[in-house]
Amino acid sequence: MKVWQCVVCGFIYDETKGMPEEGIKAGTKWADIPEGWACPDCGVAKADFEMIEV
């Protein structure tokens, strides 16, 4: 399980926690997040930004 950070706004995605409020179950790997997903903080699409391993 890894933790990723949006390079645009600093939003943290923790694979162990997922984002249940956005319908993404705990344990969902970054690679398995749908391409249409957007950063909940800055709205940048998954394809439009890079998550960096923290």
Partner: protein, 414 residues
């Protein structure tokens, strides 16, 4: 081979290089910045206090690591004095630099509204990470000792003992007056209030974020932020800032007076165009560029908050990301025009989140209320009943992606 030279180490400058490196690892790139070159996310500056983050914690990647990762030459703390377009060179405080192509990504300066008074110079702006460090330091200075029985003595920064009511009640509140109730003003108000400070917002307009949102939507922010302690004052502005026994005494245009420990100005941004203007490039409000991000000089491009792309200045994150990707392709040899999809602006006010797809000030049509349970969902319908803008507040803010897909489509009947 002369390099592509990028001016500015903000989101625009670093994004265009990051995108270019996905296409071409070898083309030489030099980045020139007057800042440290550390990479940080500017949108976080107005959301970092409540998370307890200081300036160092906001740095995602140090300058030297950015240079290594991206394979670029990085010149930090370097001012560019002039562009010599005929010889394709830059006159900088680190010497002369030749460029093959030049990308201007210098950003914008905060607009300063003139105020009277003997402490007018004390008005702060937070437009970059150095400003944030200073602002946070000043907030820390004002902290009084807070004794929290559930934990231990918690202090931060320099501790100022107050013998007056502040200390006896255990209050650690700094009184912050924010000039401007727009997007950044509202984000700071939410962040400061969540961090325990006493916040007043002064705005000559009629409701929050009035430049982007209709009245019914803007007013949704009033109660949630007031519940955090935000004191809203619309229809007036700060006329004077004078020194008081402690902090400052503010006099408003309507004659009211209030005390502040800190005054923060957040009234908007002005694109940095001086260097381009001096070089004889076409400028309007921003540096005038076409859909290829190309200025009136074919070897010079601009993007981000300093650029006016086909007549529009769009100082938000999403337009920068789209422009950076298109420009990277052009720089790599594949001429690419930027195509902007519907790009909602997200206002980071956790007390009442907002996503808005603004419409032009002179747009023909009207706002329609679609839902209003603990927030509003509004659509802007043009003359042909197509959705050309929307505002989503509170629980509706999460629907912004679905709403973006409906933009341009005919609205369902009410």
């Amino acid at each position: 081979m002369k390099p592509i030279v990028v001016l500015g180490s903000g989101l625009a400058g670093y994004s265009v290089i990051r995108e270019l490196r996905k296409l071409d690892r070898d083309i030489p790139v030099t980045l020139v910045t007057r800042d440290s070159g550390d990479y940080y996310s500017k949108p976080m500056l107005s959301n970092a206090l409540a998370q307890g983050k200081d300036a160092a914690a906001l740095v995602q990647t140090r300058a030297a690591d950015m240079a290594a990762q991206l394979g670029i030459q990085l010149l930090v703390e370097t001012e560019v004095r002039a562009i010599d377009r005929a010889n394709k060179t830059l006159d900088t405080t680190s010497g002369e630099i030749a460029y093959d192509r030049l990308v201007i990504a210098l950003g914008a300066d905060p607009i300063r509204i003139p105020v009277q008074g003997d402490a007018a110079e004390a008005v702060l702006s937070v437009n970059d990470i150095a400003d944030y460090a200073r602002f946070r330091g000043l907030l820390g200075n004002k902290k009084t000792v807070r004794i929290d029985p559930s934990t231990s003595l918690r202090t931060e920064g320099f501790v100022e003992m107050r013998s007056s009511a502040g200390a006896s009640t255990g209050s650690a509140r700094t009184e912050v007056v924010i000039m401007g109730g727009g997007l950044i003003g509202c984000e700071f108000a939410n962040d400061l209030a969540s961090a325990g400070h006493a916040v007043s917002v002064i705005d000559p307009g009629p409701w929050p974020i009035a430049s982007l949102m209709p009245e019914q939507a803007g007013r949704q922010l009033l109660a949630p932020l007031a519940a955090l302690g935000v004191d809203w004052r619309f229809g007036t502005s700060v006329s004077r800032v004078d020194h008081a026994a402690t902090g400052y005494l503010l006099t408003l245009a309507d004659g009211a007076q209030l005390h502040a420990d800190l005054v923060l100005s957040a009234v908007g941004l002005r694109p940095r165009i001086a260097l381009a203007q001096q070089a004889g490039l076409a400028v309007n409000r921003g540096i005038a560029v076409d859909a290829h991000l190309r200025s009136s000089d074919a070897a010079i491009f601009a993007l981000g908050d300093c650029a006016e792309i086909e007549g529009k200045v769009q100082p938000f994150v999403l337009p920068i990301m789209h422009a950076a990707r298109a420009l990277a392709k052009t720089l790599a040899g594949e001429e690419t025009a930027v195509v902007f999809p519907a790009m909602p602006v997200v206002v980071k006010t956790p007390a009442h989140p907002v996503a808005v797809l603004p419409v032009a000030r002179d747009a023909v049509g009207g706002w329609q209320l679609r839902a209003n349970s603990d927030g509003v969902k509004m659509e802007f319908l043009d003359a042909e009943q197509r959705i050309s803008g929307f505002v989503l507040t509170g629980p509706y803010a999460a629907e912004r992606n679905e709403m973006s897909k409906q933009v341009g489509q005919r609205a369902l009947p009410l």
